[in-house]
Symmetry: C2
DNA sequence: TATTATACCGACCAGCAGTCTATTCTCAAG
DNA sequence: CTTGAGAATAGACTGCTGGTCGGTATAATA
C-alpha cells in the first residue's frame, strides 16, 4: 500500500470520526479494531501510533463528545441576564434543542447510543459528560440556593440527580424508539410525556420550587422528537452478521 | 481427563458459582471462558452443553441474582401488617440489612459489582433485578396512592426513581470503597451520609410525604457498611496481569 | 547533506469465543 | 438383562481479535 502522510491532528480526528461511526452503528465491542483501521484507511502500526489501545480510543471519543456538548450550551452559561432557575431551564432546553434541530445525524446518535450493544460506549460518554457538566450544574444550584430561589442542602447531590434524570429521560425515549411499532407508538408517547412531567415535578420538589417551575421540555416535546424520527428514516443500523449462530440448547 | 458426570442441575449451579466468582473478581470481559471451564473442571464441550454462549451464561447469572434478591425480601412483601410506607421502608431496610449481615461474602459482591470492569455484569444484574422489583414497587406505591399515604401520579415512574436512587446509593458507597485511603475516608463517609439523606428527602417530596418519612438507612448506615469492610479485609481482588502493557504515545 | 524524530506499514502472536466430531455414560423400553 | 437413543463429556480445531514488533518512508533540523 502507498504510504499516505497527513497532518497528525487531522488524522487523529479522522480516526475518531470513523471510530465514532462504527462504534455507534455496531457497538464498541462488535466493531473491531481492524474495522476501524480499514475504514480509516491506515495500518495497525499507524493506529497504535495515535492510540495506546482500543480502550484509549474510546476514552478519547468520550472526551470529544463531552467537550462538544459543553460547547453547545456555553451560550447559556455565559448569559448574564439569566437567574439560576432560568439558566437551569435554558440548559435543559438547549441540550434538548440541539438534539431535535440537527435531527439528521444528532438523533441517530440519540437512538444508537442507547442500544444494548452500546452500553460501554454510552457509559463512557455519560461519565465524561458528567464530569464536564457537574461543576457547572453545582455552581448554578449553589447560586440558586444563595439567592433563595432553591431550597436544598447538598448541591452536588442535586446536580447528580438532575443529570440522572436527564439521562433517564433519554433512556426512556430511546426505549420507545426501539419498540417502534407505529401502532402502539401513540400509547408509548403518552407514557413518555407523563414520565417527563414526573421528572419535572420531582425536580421542582427536590429544589423546593413551586410545581411547574422546571421545564425539561414543553408538553409535546416527546412527540416532536418521535416525529422528527419518522420523517428521517434512513439511519445506519447494525448489520454485520457477527451475531450468535447457535440455537440455545438446555439439558 | 477422566470423565466425571454429575447431576445436570448441580453442574449448572456449580458452573454459575464459578463464573460468578470469576466475573466478580476479574470482570465479565476479562474472565475468559477458558478460565471458567478450568475453574469448574469441565471441558468446552460440556460448557456449551449447558449454555449457548458466554453471553447466555451472564444472562443466567443475572437472573439467579435477581431471583435471590427477590426471595430475600419476600417476607416484607407478604407481611399483612405493613402499610405502604412501612412496606417501602422495610423493603429498603431489608435489602440493606442483607448486605451488611452476610458481610463476609455479600459485600464482596457489593464492592466488586461497581468496579468499572464489571459494568456489563452490573448492568445485566441491575436489569434483571429491576424487572423483578418493579412490579412489586409499583403495587406498593399504587396502594399507597389509593389509601392516601402517597400523593403522586405515575406509580411506574416513581418506582423507577426509587430504584434509580437505590442503585445510585450503592454506586456512591462503592466509590468510597474504591478511593479508600483511610485518611480521607471519614470525609467521604460524611459526604455519603449526606447523599443518602438527600435521596430520602427527595423521595419524601416526590411521594408527597412529610420530610423524614422515608428511611433508606438510619444515620450511621454508611459508616456501618464501611466499618464492616475494615474488619473483613481479605476479599479477592483482580490480580491477573492481563492489563495494558504499553505506555501511551501521542504525536 | 547527514541525522534524528515522526508517521506509517504489515507480518506476526497469543488468546479468545465458539464449533465439531468422537466418546462414555444413563436409563427406559423391550 | 440387553440394548440403543440421547444426554453428558472431552478436547482438537478454527477464524478472528487486540496488541506487538522490526522495519521503512517522510519531515524537520542542523
Amino acid at each position: 500500500m502507498p504510504r499516505i502522510i497527513k497532518h497528525p491532528e487531522l488524522r487523529r480526528e479522522e480516526l475518531l470520526d470513523r471510530a465514532q461511526a462504527l462504534f455507534l452503528t455496531h457497538g464498541y465491542d462488535r466493531a473491531s479494531l481492524n474495522d476501524v483501521i480499514a475504514a480509516a484507511g491506515i495500518s495497525k502500526g499507524a493506529f497504535y501510533h495515535y492510540f495506546a489501545s482500543k480502550e484509549a480510543l474510546l476514552e478519547a471519543l468520550a472526551k470529544r463528545f463531552a467537550k462538544q456538548a459543553l460547547a453547545g450550551v456555553q451560550g447559556v452559561l455565559d448569559d448574564p441576564d439569566l437567574d439560576p432557575l432560568g439558566r437551569l431551564n435554558a440548559l435543559m432546553a438547549t441540550s434538548r434543542q440541539a438534539k431535535i434541530d440537527t435531527a439528521a445525524d444528532a438523533w441517530a446518535l440519540f437512538e444508537t447510543l442507547f442500544r444494548p450493544e452500546n452500553l460501554v460506549l454510552f457509559h463512557r460518554i455519560n461519565q465524561a459528560a458528567s464530569s464536564s457538566f457537574s461543576p457547572v450544574l453545582v455552581e448554578i444550584i449553589r447560586q440558586g440556593v444563595q439567592d433563595g430561589t432553591f431550597r436544598t442542602f447538598d448541591p452536588e447531590g442535586v446536580a447528580d440527580i438532575v443529570m440522572q434524570f436527564g439521562m433517564a429521560t433519554h433512556d426512556v425515549i430511546a426505549k420507545a424508539f426501539a419498540s417502534g411499532s407505529d401502532a402502539d407508538m401513540d400509547i408509548a408517547i403518552e407514557a413518555l410525556e407523563r414520565r417527563v412531567r414526573l421528572y419535572e415535578i420531582a425536580l421542582d420538589r427536590i429544589l423546593g420550587l413551586p410545581d411547574g417551575s422546571i421545564r425539561i421540555g414543553e408538553p409535546g416535546y416527546v412527540r416532536a422528537v418521535m416525529t422528527a424520527r419518522r420523517s428521517n428514516p434512513s439511519i445506519p443500523r447494525p448489520s454485520k452478521d457477527r451475531e450468535p449462530r447457535r440455537a440455545p440448547s438446555r439439558p
